[in-house]
């Protein structure tokens, strides 16, 4: 496709656009979009407080690569918006970046054990919160049609700025949803046969490492705790100011 994008990246083999797409990718994308929509509807039926509407996107991002994941996310939201719920349409950049970030994380080995998957989920949530803030502010003035807008409305009533209120809300809601999504996707990939996974462009993303590395895990848990503390600090500062 575009040679310049490929040359622009230092890690050609890891993030190259062309590597993402083989026939298996093109066949998986429609199935993944349908998985997004069908699982999203099952979750609505079970009345769980999460969306889980990007499991398919994460699956493609991990097995095929960031660009395929991004394409799946964007198409998924567009089709959902046009065919099922019109309010989903403006959010396609969020889904695009969810796929992209999940794919990049997976390409750097963050989808091999459960605790690394949690880190991926956290990073994806952070991206989703950041990208959806300007959309919510510019198109909806902060108040969207989703249930979490009650929190935003409350924060607005306490006298906060729109951007801060929306970002705080997203930051409260997204991590639970995205970490769960990534864990479900991880469980699904673990259930697939290695022969099947080997036909996708990036089977090495999910190869389980021999023996879990304890030190690595403790460092990662420490980093996550620090991040959460930092986030709590920032949130407290935003809420206080």
């Amino acid at each position: 496709m575009s040679e310049t994008t490929m040359q622009g990246q230092k890690k050609q083999s890891r993030l190259s656009l062309r590597r993402d797409f083989n026939t298996m990718t093109w066949v998986l994308i429609p199935v993944a979009i349908a998985i997004n929509i069908a699982v999203g509807q099952i979750v609505l039926l079970l009345k769980l407080p999460v969306y889980l509407d990007s499991i398919g996107t994460i699956l493609v991002a991990v097995l095929c690569g960031p660009w395929a994941g991004a394409l799946t996310g964007a198409l998924s939201n567009t089709i959902w918006g046009v065919a099922i719920d019109p309010n989903a349409l403006p959010w396609w950049p969020v889904a695009f970046f969810i796929g992209l970030v999940a794919g990049i994380c997976a390409a750097y080995g963050l989808f091999k054990t459960w605790w690394k998957v949690i880190i991926t989920g956290f990073l994806v949530a952070l991206t989703a919160a950041t990208v959806s803030t300007p959309i919510a502010v510019y198109i909806y003035g902060g108040i969207t049609a989703s249930g979490s807008s009650f929190i935003t409305a409350y924060l607005l009533q306490t006298g906060q700025g729109v951007v801060q209120a929306v970002f705080s809300t997203n930051f409260l809601v997204e991590p639970v949803d995205k970490i769960t999504t990534c864990l479900v996707a991880f469980a699904i990939i673990q259930g697939l046969s290695r022969r099947f996974i080997a036909r996708f462009p990036r089977p090495e993303n999910v190869e389980v490492e021999a023996g879990t590395n304890r030190t690595q895990m403790w460092i990662a848990i420490g980093v996550v705790v620090l991040l959460v503390l930092f986030a709590a600090f920032m949130l407290g500062k935003i809420l206080g100011g």
């Binding site: 797409f21 066949v27 998986l28 349908a34 929509i37 607005l156």
Partner: protein, 259 residues
């Protein structure tokens, strides 16, 4: 159950005979003008004077208004109410319950957003009612869109209803085995996996077979493929497209100039 997710209504009208790309340009143009226009009442005017007449011109007004009352208007009305109540802008309080108040400014703001959504979704609905998805895709492929994209779109539209039917079957089957989908929170979380598992694994199994099947039919071949159906693209189509692009540019210029 529909065979494919499509709103297309087969009629013979001017709108149906237009080239798909012209209609797509028209829809995108309408959306851009709605969002870019510097005047407050543009969405209302466009909706009344462009979208509704087009639905009559396309002979799909009955289906259009059904979709409008059932889907578009409720979604827009909900957004309108949420924004009218929760936007903390403005000082002229018109109406107040509890701590929520509607001000003149928040009312105007909510109306503009709701109308923008209405124009956006209703013009898309009109497009989907008068354009067959395969027709759009084969026209875009002829203009240089990679065949893989067309495959993804068309295939998705076919798979979604199948997947939804499969999900319904799995839910019914697991319930008949006593799966709890209504009681306590933890039970419902627990019942997520028996529902999602079969659905996802079942549909992933088909992926490999389908990949082999389409590869055997020259899916990745880069040769120019011939099409069974020729989609007409008249001079009128070309003129309409350029007029729409011109109008969008004018709106953008006005927006920059007036603000």
């Amino acid at each position: 159950m529909h065979e494919r997710l499509s709103f297309f209504v087969k009629r013979d009208s001017i709108l149906h005979r237009l080239n798909p790309l012209t209609k797509l340009t028209l829809v995108l143009g309408l959306i851009l003008v709605t969002f870019l226009s510097p005047w407050y009442w543009t969405p209302e005017i466009l909706f009344l004077l462009v979208v509704i007449p087009l639905s009559f011109l396309g002979k799909v007004s009955r289906e259009f208004f059904r979709a409008f009352w059932r889907i578009i208007l409720p979604a827009a009305a909900f957004l309108f109410l949420m924004q009218a109540f929760f936007q903390p802008v403005g000082t002229q309080v018109i109406f107040q319950i509890w701590f929520l108040d509607i001000t003149k400014e928040s009312l105007l703001f909510a109306l503009r957003n709701a109308m923008r959504i209405i124009v956006m979704v209703s013009s898309f609905t009109l497009f989907l009612l008068t354009t067959h998805p395969s027709e759009l895709m084969s026209d875009l492929t002829r203009r240089g869109l990679p065949g893989q994209f067309a495959y993804v779109i068309i295939s998705t539209l076919q798979i979604i209803p199948q997947m939804q039917a499969k999900a319904q079957t799995i839910i019914a089957a697991q319930r008949s085995r006593g799966l709890d989908t209504q009681s306590s929170y933890l039970r419902r979380v627990g019942s997520l996996f028996p529902l999602v598992g079969p659905l996802v694994f079942g549909s992933l199994v088909e992926v490999e077979e389908r990949a082999i099947a389409i590869e055997a039919r020259g899916f990745t071949s880069t040769h120019v493929k011939t099409s069974l159906r020729e989609i007409p693209d008249s001079n009128a189509d070309r003129v309409i497209r350029w007029v729409i692009i011109f109008l969008v540019v004018i709106t953008l210029a006005l927006r920059i100039w007036l603000s």
